[in-house]
Amino acid sequence: MRSWLRQHRRALVAALGKLAAQKASGGVSALVIGVALSLPAGGYSLLEGLSSLAAGVALEPQISVYLKTGSTQSDADALAARLKSDARIGQVRFVPRTEALKELKATEGLADVIDALDHNPLPDAFVVRARDSSPETLAELAQELRRAPTVAHVQADAVWARRLASLARLGRLAVLLLAALLAFGLVAVTFNTIRLQILTQRDEIEVSKLIGATDTFIRRPFLYLGLLQGLAGGALALGIVWAGLSLLNGEVLTLAQTYGSSFRFDFLSQGDALAVMLFAGALGWLGASLSVSRYLLEVQPK
């Protein structure tokens, strides 16, 4: 057991040494891996941000119901009774047309415009809050309310939240596809750098084989090299995503403040960051093991 650990430690140290010795070429392949991985990782962060935004909207499950102009007070009372009796609805607030006009008048710059009107163009309205905040329930409720004879228009914020959610699903699929495609590319990059490394160490491999090194022993430092290169690439990808999001958040915050929101894109969670590292490491290992199996056969001592 101790000697087994020693063998692995030696291989790891040898791989670290090679990584340090490679300098430029090793750095470039880690950079390639980093940049490539930062695309899906960054895309994922943005999507997570947008989904949380959509979730935030859905937390306010409001539906605005506008009555037809010319509806009477009894029409409004009848609808109010119906809304209050609906089990899916938690809260009903009536906004009379006179009050709506007052609110609108309070808005800067609109007072003169409204004074110029000879009658109130606004309808009576209800603001309804559903108990269940899922976009599906809200959309269904809005659909039903739309069919009521006294209702002119129903506006459900949940609908665009739902659109956003399905857009996010589409985006997630795109990110997954991108990640899968880039994974192939990264395996190819490591495959090639390990191939070059094998060629430069041809003599050492040949001698080692001649004097009794097992294939496992010869393979090990190359596998570690692939793993380390992948991990370095993964770390670089996280760094790029972090820097990109910090840059973006400066602008996003300014924009969000004009909407009275403090929205910002969060960096990947610890679990997601770990997943990126593991994914990159695994790809490096895979590329190295393919390369080693392919090219070690070619080094046959004579």
């Binding site: 020693r6 001698v207 080692s208 001649l210 009794g212």
Partner: protein, 221 residues
Amino acid sequence: MISFSAVSKRYPGGQDVLRGVSLTVNAGELVFITGHSGAGKSTLLKLIPAIERPSTGSVIVNGQNVSALRPAAIPFLRRNLGLVFQDQKLLYDRSVYENIMLPLSFSSLAPREAARRARAALDKVGLLGREKANPVQLSGGEQQRVAIARAVVNRPAILIADEPTANLDAEAAQRVLEIFVAFNQVGVTVLLATHDLGLVTRYGRRVLRLAAGHVVEDSAP
């Protein structure tokens, strides 16, 4: 300890390099294998560590039929043999000491014991004190002695050397041969190929002469 029975070797698309060679080398023997270049000396030696496989016949080393060994078992066979190659095969990107440590890095030896053995091997070939040097800084004879130290560092019972004196002047060649004789005196079985018959006859040891793939002379002292 080593026995060949009716061994022939034909390289793909080539001639027969060995034709029906049968011979036995007992434990503790020192055997010189001579013959002109192309006589099959190198091929004969390469069959023992399974670097080459015979086309027909069998090669038995320590009771093990190495001509039928599965590939995964070959490294373990080679660890029990000390190999000195015609072109030395030293690694010029590292020191003499690191070259000698190479075979020990495969084994499960503790680092302290490995270092001790490496120094002992250097001592035996008279290169103690040159361990930090790069092989290119050494003379041809010294490089050959580094190769011998690497071959014996695992304390093999069999030492196989292919033309270890090939490119050396008479004095350096003499010195290298003395080292092999010294190892033989402590019980190591030695097989040494050389085209220089004059150099080896003075030792009064068994000489195997190869010509065109046949053993044409096997003179025991």
